[in-house]
Symmetry: C2
Subunit: 303 residues, 2 copies
């Protein structure tokens, strides 16, 4: 009944066709934690600078997120990202990335958190992901994320990570890039061949695919007219996914499928407002309504 | 219990990363008819030149396709298309288009075919589509297709067509282009606002979406590792869709959803070989197996 996430905590300045925000709370570990906190207790391992204030800490704690392992570097500055999206919303265009205290992030998992059952290794250096895998004690499930940058610069180490996790989360572009194929089924099979039990390929507006060694699941996207800010969609998807499984206390094909649909719904709330705002006031009833709508949307009778 | 299709009959020379074929039987009306012929009787209205031989006619007739209204222009040449696909297979690159006898195609529906219950207006000039709509007598369902060329050159006339049909078939690129929006839900709503009852947006490897005035259906794609030749996928989808409905003898939301899944399966067979070869030896048992696999692939339990 506990989840561990290791990833970035950041301030984001984001501009989309629908508006802009400056220095709003963000980062992969934050988006993940907020999403997961609806169902679960989350232990957040990360690093911030002295510009990370009491308000931000309180905001996370109020969601039941344990920030005991959120290190604060005095005289350092928190990771900052500035970017924008154009109308198609599929690509984040980076204006500025200031790694700041994140540059030397070498996380140590506190003893009390090493027994976390579910672990999310957010998009960070594969070398750090490998170190983290060595630190956790018999987790039930390790899920990892990555990005094009690591595929391009540390592909071998990323492959080593994939050999040691249970669930690989990739978006469609990353999956194609990782194994140099336009075909997602082929890419998924190559990831499975590394020993991963489950591969989930997120396709944004086209939903998600989940591949096991003898199963395929296709989840519809939640139909939305306006995506206000896609930042953090993948991390909130991961938070929804892992917290749903944590809540069920076991893993099987049925629960994995439900977890992907639950994750899809959580991500749909995330993108309907800037930064963390989309998920701030969501309650379980809202989630359940969208989940059941997705069930209705994808339903058809057998021949 | 009869379907009418009006569209192109062609010879295609196609090159893909998996091989190539020269002057193989093709065209929208051919791909549609072959797909529909598994369940239905099809009346084909089209035009060919004197290079269209007895073999091609026999091939169509053996599938139960009525070619009485396939006009033959002596001393004319059949529509010819040459094109290729690169690895992503999403875009057809045209090398050569010779309209030939299709240039002056001004189809007249024979009296005996004017009572066809289900009508498919394949991708042809919207002015011709409008003339055809005036010729048919109280059809149960008119389905129309189009392409980017008509959106760019005859958008107003295409809108007039859409106001007069029951089902609009578009691919995702066309839907976005038609109403200048990246959002498919917004585009679909605009098509529905014209009076169309059902909008189907084909998304290739991402499946299909169907929108009614108060319903949305998301159909998964059939997972395939190798797409050999995507030519005719949209037309065989249409043929599968309309023949399935014809077979049920009525239309409701449940049947429309099943028809979209059936259409998806038919298109999946079409693309696994060049030209018409993919569908030539398919029997109903093959279709049913893939249909039921799609049901299994998209299934998840309610919360």
């Amino acid at each position: 009944m506990s989840i561990l996430v290791v990833g970035s905590v950041a301030f984001d300045s984001i501009k989309t066709p629908f508006g802009q925000v400056d220095r709003t709370l963000g980062g992969s570990a934050v988006h993940f934690s907020l999403a997961a906190s609806i169902l679960s207790r989350v232990n957040l391992v990360g690093v911030v600078g002295s510009d990370f204030g009491h308000d931000q800490i309180t905001f996370l704690q109020k969601r039941g997120i344990n920030v005991d392992a959120l290190a604060k570097v005095e005289n350092g500055k928190t990771f900052f990202w500035e970017g924008f999206y154009e109308y198609d919303m599929n690509t984040a265009h980076t204006v500025k990335t200031e790694l700041n205290v994140f540059q030397n992030f070498d996380p140590v998992i506190p003893e009390a958190m090493k027994n976390s059952e579910y672990v999310f290794l957010a998009n960070i250096d594969p070398d750090i992901q490998l170190k983290l895998i060595q630190q956790v004690k018999s987790p039930k499930l390790i899920v990892c994320d990555t990005m094009n940058y690591w595929i391009e610069t540390k592909r071998d180490r990323l492959i080593d990570v994939l050999k040691r996790v249970n669930v690989a989360l990739l978006n469609d572009g990353e999956a194609r890039q990782l194994f140099k194929t336009p075909n997602l089924l082929k890419a998924a099979k190559q990831v499975l061949a590394l020993g991963v039990k489950t591969v989930i390929i997120k396709k944004g507006e086209h939903g998600a695919l989940m591949f096991g060694h003898d199963s395929v699941f296709s989840a519809p996207a939640f139909p939305m007219e306006d995506i206000i800010d896609p930042t953090g969609a993948g991390d909130s998807f991961a938070g929804g996914f892992l917290s749903f499984i944590d809540k069920q206390k076991k893993v099987n094909d049925r629960i994995l499928r439900q977890a992907v649909v639950y994750a899809t719904v959580i991500a749909s709330f995330n993108v309907q407002n800037f930064g963390t705002k989309g998920l701030e006031n969501v309650v379980y009833g809202d989630i359940k309504a969208r989940y059941n709508k997705l069930s209705q949307i994808s339903e058809f009778k057998n021949l």
